[in-house]
Symmetry: C2
Amino acid sequence: MPLTPRQEKISDIVRASGPITGEQIAERLNVTRAALRPDLAVLVMSGLIEARPKVGYYYTGKDAFSLITDQVSLIKVRDIQSVPVVVSCNTSAYDAVVTMFLEDVGTVFAVEPGGILAGVISRKDVLKIAIGGNDLHKMPVKVLMTPMPKIVVTTPDEPVLAAAKKIIDNEVDSLPVVSATSTLGNKVYEVVGRLTKTNVARLFVELGEGKGGNNYS
Amino acid sequence: MPLTPRQEKISDIVRASGPITGEQIAERLNVTRAALRPDLAVLVMSGLIEARPKVGYYYTGKDAFSLITDQVSLIKVRDIQSVPVVVSCNTSAYDAVVTMFLEDVGTVFAVEPGGILAGVISRKDVLKIAIGGNDLHKMPVKVLMTPMPKIVVTTPDEPVLAAAKKIIDNEVDSLPVVSATSTLGNKVYEVVGRLTKTNVARLFVELGEGKGGNNYS
């Protein structure tokens, strides 16, 4: 609900000077009290301002952004995740980098047979090894990967917002999207997707362009 | 303005079956027409549905997400940008990587004297050179950087949404934030900041958590 310029003005006045009566607002805007009535009604119904008898209008602090939370919380990781790019734990660091370039991804996941998550390898991990003067051909990824259980993961059902917060808080570029399963009584994670900063930034752009309502709800 | 459950229901009915009269909506919800009046008023004023005399209520297609566009478009690059990390064009690729690790950034900018943007070096650029078996110590960054004028840039005044779209569309991790200036009649860019996918993802999380209204407006 975009506010009209006059509604914006009223909202600003109430925020700055509330509680304030309708008469005082009308005076400031140089209009009649009656002319303001429809705008005040919209602002009160929208929850932006509240009216208290014998006191006047005051600002609630609930601004338009609170809506974003409500809508965005409906979008799940599965709605925006990418396909995972995986290598075996015995792959050399060199071949892992080649895979990164071929698939144009910044992160590959090392998996055990059955697609079970064992580690995460980022460009940063490989670069660190490369400038150390090591031979990437002779080094298996398991030496340089971030191994389980230190990996931060997400699931298809997790809200994107919570997953994006994990990316930011843990300072990683992407999260493996996993499905928990059991092998010989041990809980393990099968890799089913990849959630990256790019996915999140693209969602931001799409929501900002007003595309989100149709695609994700 | 989060809708109440009943307002959501009415909105769904109008979306699915509009144009539809108030009486028909009331019948479906098993309430009186009078009981619906306040909810219908809110929905009409919010722009979600419209009323047409002798036809009924119909859905406008402007859903709650359109609000995000309006609010997010107020946030500028300057509000969320990071400080730029720069090296000189004669720096070796090795020293550029060391700078990346020391500053914990994925991209450094190569500048000429006066902080004038000359190139962008990403982890991917250096990794490509490193696995090619080149000596990073002997290679100046200007050999591997993306040079001007091929660099996509942003400015402090650009809306974040437009800048984020540049990041996605051009498949880059970050943009130099620049200020255009003139040297000997040539238009050049002074580097004043750095806008990354991390900045965008963090903004998304903050907006989603409802923090945006206070920080950015």
